[in-house]
Symmetry: C2
Subunit: 140 residues, 2 copies
DNA sequence: TTCATTTTTGAAATCATTGCAAATATACAA
DNA sequence: TTGTATATTTGCAATGATTTCAAAAATGAA
């Protein structure tokens, strides 16, 4: 999580993406957040910092980053998409009650467990778990 | 895939769901399909067979089945939900080009690879892979 | 500076899904 | 069987996250 703005900027350039003020701010926000923000959340958080910002820009920019493989998009919640800047291999859990999404470490990469992938090219892999978190189970 | 209508009916009853004509038809369709149909696809397929059918009924019924754990809902495509009646543990792959969703067998259950699940109750697990299928890779 | 290209913007449109209240079907008691 | 309460289905309107689009602003090259 200790990444400087200059490093993030270079990462955008390396990916062939011109680091505009908006793009860099959005990239930094998603990369440093551990909360899996939605486009709306990114927009709300950066509106003040940037003076002005369009929700359309946030949507466009997040899509740009996802297509470039810089961040990933989560569809663990079926009513909205959220974004994840954590590049380490990990799974996600979403609580059916409180809706919170948490990262879970993996003992080993899960793609190795999948059979019949000969001839396929994999660009993204997500492991989603749903259920009830310890806190919500206690409050039942 | 060799399941009789009577067995499907009993399965609904065992789950506490009254097997109306619409419900049984929808249940049978999703259980026997290998195509991961959307609500719209189920609706189109059963409209004729049932004489009449409401899209709302299809949505309501699919949700009922998902909540009862009889089928699962896939969010591997972020623009629509689709449904899966295959109860065996398997992963899903979606091609970025043709959009086709295919089942993939697992060497072992993937939940066992996830760390830190003490205190959690898991009700659903999905492993989604995305990329390019062999056919689309060839046509490039 | 000037011009071409890229990026941002806001408002309108899209569309899968849900809410809702009326209509219909079903179960059960009398 | 009939009446009545309950469960289910239906169609249409509403919702809301996301996209489209064309104009405005910013940027880069010459």
């Amino acid at each position: 999580m200790k990444v400087s703005r200059a490093e993030l900027k270079q990462e955008l350039i390396d990916a062939g993406i011109r680091p505009s003020v908006q793009r860099l701010a959005i990239f930094e926000y998603v990369r440093k957040s551990c909360q899996h923000p939605t486009a709306e959340v990114v927009y709300e958080a950066l509106c003040d910092e940037l003076g002005s910002l369009s929700l359309t820009t946030v949507y466009n920019t997040l899509k740009l980053f996802v297509d470039a493989g810089l961040i990933s998009m989560l569809t663990i919640d079926d009513t909205f998409r959220c974004f994840d800047g954590n590049r380490c291999c990990h799974a996600h859990f979403r609580c059916n009650t409180c809706g919170k999404i948490v990262d879970l470490q993996m003992k080993k990469d899960f793609i190795s467990l999948v059979e019949g992938l000969e001839g396929y090219e994999i660009t993204d892999a997500q492991l989603y778990l749903k259920g009830f978190c310890p806190t919500c189970l206690e409050n039942k």
